[in-house]
Symmetry: none
Subunit: 251 residues, 2 copies
């Protein structure tokens, strides 16, 4: 058996079982302990596995980011619902803007079977978009600490060079009179630019964002449709529904 085959086999074994003993690897591959150990040191150097006494375990790979989406907290499930709903507004052939943020990121897997062109300022989004084979453009700009969202004048200018059929934004505050708000003024500028250059705009927000007012103003309440889940008070619903489209997803 070839070296590379054996190493692939070891990785395969580890994928099935979290920890595999050297002895078991010997049996499966028919190789001697020495050889297996050598393979393990190699695979460890390549940062693919972690050695433990008596065997090895799979190192969690950076590639397996998708688990990030699969987190099963209540919050994540809500985001997933909102994202799914948002994608129903997307048509084949659309050019869309995806704002940075986890909610918009959840849209990506559902976008896979539509033929769309996506522009985004979210770095984590790009990797996921590529993985799902979606044609992706990235605006330029300064990468913000923490979220790696692209912001700044360069980002705003770059957005100006595109026209979108639809844009999808995350937001921190939704308020009747103060409109949409977000903590970072630089991010607000980027969101505004996206709104300016898009035919129709959607804001994705869980119910906790309603009634909140954040530092930087993004837009008036009637400048974007809102997609959210149940939990918003009926009186608030009534008022806002008069000003803009408000999609509420039943839980």
């Amino acid at each position: 058996m070839l070296t590379i085959e054996r190493q692939e086999l070891i990785l395969a074994l580890l994928k099935e079982k979290e920890i595999v003993s050297v002895h078991h690897m010997c049996e499966e591959t028919g190789a001697s302990e020495s050889t297996i150990r050598r393979d393990l040191t190699e695979l460890e150097n390549k940062q693919l596995i972690k050695r433990v006494h008596g065997g090895a375990s799979l190192l969690k790979k950076k590639r397996e980011e998708p688990t990030l989406l699969e987190k099963t907290t209540q919050h994540q499930q809500e985001k997933e619902l909102i994202a799914k709903k948002a994608v129903t507004f997307v048509d084949d052939g659309d050019s869309i803007y995806l704002d940075a943020g986890t909610t918009t990121m959840s849209m990506i897997p559902h976008l896979a079977d539509k033929s769309v062109v996506v522009v985004t300022n979210g770095i984590p989004h790009v990797q996921l978009l590529i993985e799902y084979g979606i044609e992706t453009y990235v605006i330029g700009g300064k990468a913000k600490k923490g979220t790696a969202a692209l912001i700044g004048t360069k980002a705003v200018e770059a957005i100006g060079e595109y026209r979108f059929d639809k844009c999808f934004l995350g937001i921190n505050g939704i308020h009747m009179s103060r409109g949409f708000t977000t903590p970072d003024p630089e991010e607000a500028n980027v969101k505004q630019a996206a709104l300016r250059n898009s035919q129709s705009c959607f804001v994705l927000a869980d119910p906790t964002k309603f009634g909140e007012v954040s530092f930087a103003n993004v837009a008036n309440i009637d400048q974007a449709a809102i997609i959210t889940t149940e939990g918003i008070s009926t009186e608030q619903f009534e008022k806002i529904a008069k000003l803009t489209t408000l999609e509420v997803i039943p839980q």
Copy 2:
């Protein structure tokens, strides 16, 4: 049996089984080891297969586990050495351009304790740069499938809006007369733009890249300093060292 026939057969064998040994190929084709090896070198040059010790494996497709291994398989430690050396050329306060690619990515952890501003077209780079608290700007552009490198006219234009003290590029081919080359013309354009806007330029390449010529031209050999590890033949070293700076790291 004709050469073509035999090579087709080899490819067919590889399609059935991800990895095939030289020995098995001999049996199937009736040819000698020498002949099979010659075929393999040819097929490897045509980028159809990848050789491994004792046999060959199919390149392309199967975006599963193999690629992960393949990617990290070669020269991981070498890349680390090259990256480390490259960082020694970086001064505090520099504005630098980091080309997409795994070698330049290895530079990032070592950049952490310098105060630099980094511009890059590599999406995976951005996350890492942010993690290490480095001030990061991203050029815009189209995200290339597979590597997520940013390319296209927008990328080239965006680079034009910056001036770098130093730029660090990965490269596929280094050839005395043909200079630096890379498979993707669009990536070549981006690299050229980086070279144009940088005071001093460094190419990071392992020794296997020397003597190679890839499809798209990037620059002449004297337009960038080269950082590599031992393994390059002394005669090649002599010749190239006359044309440009050539840093060779002892193993």
